[in-house]
Amino acid sequence: MSDTSPQNRARESHMLIVNGQSYAFDDASQANLLDLLRNRLGLMASRFGCGEGLCGACRVLVDGQPMPACDTPLWSIAGRAVTTVEGLGTAAQPHPIQTALIAEQAMQCGYCISGIIVSAAALLQKNADPDEAEVRAALDDNLCRCGAHNRIVRAVMRAAAAIRSANEMP
């Protein structure tokens, strides 16, 4: 049962849920979300790419929506739920997108891939049957310099098919 007393709300506003775990942060903290994830929580999968929210390498889900962590101040997301790549899947329990990326060998250097996984997961959450153009549109704010785009698109389509067939199982 949730306690909605004013003191508790104030305390809640200084909490953040990261991959299902609650963290408290200092009200005076000027840090951005990426700094918290990488330097204080040791969650390194979210990458620094530009610091301006323009490349997508640091994307995370905030209440299910993809957002750049690098220019998101902590105060702006107090009380909300953040999911990073570490929270989406692991080698033991991979997310279908991770399985599909490995199957399609859909990367080269891989530095952009965490942010792409996040964007793709958000897409498949709301649309499990996207066409290719919808996948490309969903990934358009993620930059890849190695040219693995077409493989990545194939992997997302493959993951979507896997999710659909899992959902169809009795």
């Binding site: 390194m44 530095y111 996948v135 077409n150």
Partner: protein
């Protein structure tokens, strides 16, 4: 015993002939490889695992790779020029083959049988009956500190089990789960964080440093080199912003003419050299057609800003870097610090793809200079996005004039190719003075290292692929290497080959139009090389060249090159859509890399290179004004996005009996020319100036 034909060994192995410098066998069931080439996203580690496991007959998972380091790795120079497979890969194949032979000889001796009676299955050596031993059992008794024997032959083509197959990459799963560390993720005890303030204009000097709040900050200054050290990244970023506000700069180099860069290149003092000539007469024959092509400065635009960690202790320096050349970086650091190379160790750690000489080496000196102020503490320095785009070396701008004399009968009789460009190589470890950015800014500065070009025999720089592969009866190739360098240039994927192939293959298309010939037929007419003809014919089949129906507003173009005239053959057909801003819709590519060790790896490299080349060709140019580079973010230096990427089909012509060569740079030049030729096909407008934007199309129409 005859003297071994040393020439048959790969260059890396000739330089480091002791087996134990490359490979070790552990008693615990592993093969440990210690290659000198490094992973830059190209997949070399997987290829090395395949080659090693194949020769030794072990499961690939038994092969472990140790990151390259100056303390233990063979000096393989720089991981560049598409040489990783042919130098490092072939060295590993040979070393593994000889290791197998050494182990089998010992096994035969101990088991009392002949080597011919032995077979190997995942490291277990089996003889007749129940006789068996293993690499792992024998490992403690065998010393691999022995020189390579050039007489040892690796497996015959038909005995290979792992090479020629698409083994999944060893690094992909770790990247998909975010668990494989990049250099940016390395955290060491007592590590501090550094940032360096760069002059906005190249060559500017730090004139004054105003009031600066030093709370929690160590300020480090040496001449115009200035940076901060803090306990956290956030604090270092904030301190850098304060430093930027406090600093004022003066002077700087005169920037190139932003309105006429092509002409500016021709007006600079330059070192002129004859690249090649064939039956060329003096005076030069008159050319019946002459055209001028241009490529702008390009940024490597790595997705990860460059990063390094440095630590001083007792006058020794340890550096962790994503440099492409650990030994080269070490030698430049030794010059800067006036110390012996033995006092410096450089350890490689992975970063994002660099596509040539980006800021990797520069940031290592930044870290070393900052760390000197805090002996004992490792200092990690990460560049900003702006510095990655603007302070890293750039790919040189080029003006390329191509001309031909064509007889009345329509035969190309003489070919002329002339280049104006900065040099394409300013990597560390090549000169008497360092090539590292901060070295030019110190209180006792080193002179700006002007980019050079290696000779053609070493791959060349600006002149790479300037000599046509076509059988023209005579030619002359001239290069003017600029002696001024206001914008620092160095290696970018394919070096001068990108611009030269763009020019040659565009010009051939222009000649085809002049001579009223099909562009494919014209090329085939001047190509005797069967492998060249084969990739052209394959790509023509793939794209249904000359027969396919092409939608309105679309056009198709074709281009070909053999990278470095000695490496991979690559032919491309491009289809563009010019209804609005030109867009690449589809690329068909046929490639021949000799023996294909990992087909999917080759396709990935060719496809990735082609997409990057599409981005260069259609969108990219470094922007600058009198105050320096202005393309300092992804908004001002846009690259190709998911929605703009063409469909790409790649087919490999495998030649398992021929030497394996690299695939990483083969597609760059042909893609640019195929796109320009496709635009001509669609619009009848010849665009000779990259990038192939709507603006440049309009300019070409005027």
């Amino acid at each position: 015993m005859t003297n071994p034909p040393a020439r048959s060994l790969p260059a890396s192995l000739r330089a480091t002939p002791m087996l134990n410098r490359w490979l070790g066998v552990s008693g615990e069931g592993h093969i440990v490889l210690t290659p000198g080439k490094v992973e830059i996203g190209q997949g070399i580690l997987t290829v090395l695992v395949q080659l090693c496991a194949d020769e030794l007959d072990v499961n690939p998972h038994r092969v472990r790779l140790q990151p390259a380091g100056t303390e233990h790795s063979p000096n393989e120079g720089v991981t560049s020029g598409s040489l990783s497979v042919q130098d490092c890969g072939m060295s590993v194949r040979h070393v593994a083959a000889q290791t197998r032979q050494v182990f089998l000889a010992e096994a035969a001796r101990q088991l009392g049988v002949s080597v011919d009676e032995l077979s190997v299955e995942d490291g277990i050596i089996c003889g007749p009956g129940n006789l068996s031993t293993s690499y792992w059992e024998l490992a403690p008794q065998i010393d691999l500190a022995r020189p390579v024997d050039p007489e040892v032959a690796p497996k015959a083509v038909e005995s290979r089990r792992l090479t020629g197959r698409s083994l999944p990459r060893v690094d992909v799963a770790g990247k998909a789960f975010g668990t494989r560390p990049y250099i940016h993720d390395i955290v060491l005890p007592d590590m501090l964080h550094g940032r360096v303030l760069r002059a906005p204009r190249p060559g500017a000097k730090l004139a004054a440093l105003g009031e600066f709040d030093c709370t929690g900050t160590r300020l480090v200054r040496d001449g115009s080199f200035v940076g901060v050290i803090c306990e956290s990244e956030a604090a270092a970023d904030a301190a850098l912003r304060r430093l930027e506000a406090a600093a004022s700069w003066a002077g700087g180099y005169d920037m190139p003419d932003a309105h006429d860069l092509a002409g500016w290149l021709k007006r600079q003092p330059a070192e002129t050299s004859l690249v090649a000539e064939r039956n060329a007469s003096d005076p030069e024959p008159l050319v019946s057609l002459r055209r001028s092509y241009f490529k702008p400065y390009l940024a490597h635009a790595s997705i990860a800003p460059s990063c390094a960690i440095a630590q001083w202790s007792d006058e020794t320096l340890h550096v962790i870097s994503h440099t492409q050349g650990i030994f080269n970086l070490r030698s430049d650091l030794a010059i800067v610090f006036g110390t012996a190379e033995e006092k410096i160790s450089v350890q490689h750690a992975e970063s994002a793809g660099c596509y040539g000489h980006n800021g990797a080496d520069d940031v290592a000196l930044d870290a070393a200079l900052l760390a000197r102020a805090v002996p004992g503490n490792p200092v990690r320095v990460r560049w900003s996005r702006a510095d990655e785009l603007a302070a890293s070396p750039l790919g040189a701008a080029m003006t390329i004039d191509v001309g031909a004399q064509v007889s009345a009968a329509g035969d190309i009789q003489y070919w002329h190719h002339e280049i104006w460009s900065n040099g394409y190589v300013a990597r560390p470890g090549r000169g008497d003075t360092p090539a590292l950015l901060a070295a030019f800014d110190l209180a006792q500065p080193f002179p700006l290292y002007i980019a050079q070009d290696p000779p053609l025999a070493g791959g060349g720089g600006a002149q790479r692929n300037a000599v046509p592969l076509y059988d023209f009866p005579s030619w002359r190739i001239v290069k003017h290497r600029l002696l001024t360098m206001p914008l620092r240039t160095s290696s970018i994927r394919a070096l001068g080959a990108f611009g030269n192939i763009f020019a040659i293959e565009s010009f051939l298309d222009e000649l085809a139009t002049e001579l009223d010939q099909d562009p494919l037929a014209l090329r085939l007419r001047y190509l005797a090389d069967e492998r060249a003809r084969a990739v052209l014919q394959r790509v023509a089949t793939m794209a249904d060249w000359g027969k396919a129906a092409i939608p309105d507003g679309h056009g198709r173009g074709l281009a070909f090159a053999r990278y470095k005239n000695s490496s991979a053959y690559c032919a491309v057909v491009a289809e563009v859509d010019v209804n609005e801003e030109p867009r690449a819709r589809r690329l068909w590519i046929a490639v021949d890399v000799g023996e294909t060790i990992n087909p999917d790896g080759v396709i990935n490299q060719i496809e990735g290179g082609a997409i990057q080349a599409t981005s260069w060709s259609l969108k990219e140019q470094v922007a600058y004004d009198e105050e320096g580079v202005t393309s300092r973010s992804w908004e001002s230096y846009p690259i190709l996005r998911f929605s703009e990427v063409p469909a790409v089909s790649v087919e490999i012509i495998d030649r398992p009996e021929l030497p394996a060569v690299g695939a990483g740079e083969a597609a760059q030049g042909p893609v640019a020319a195929a796109l320009a030729n496709a635009i001509y096909n669609a619009l009848g407008v010849r665009v000779r100036k990259l990038p192939l934007t709507r603006d440049h199309i309009i300019e070409a129409m005027e």
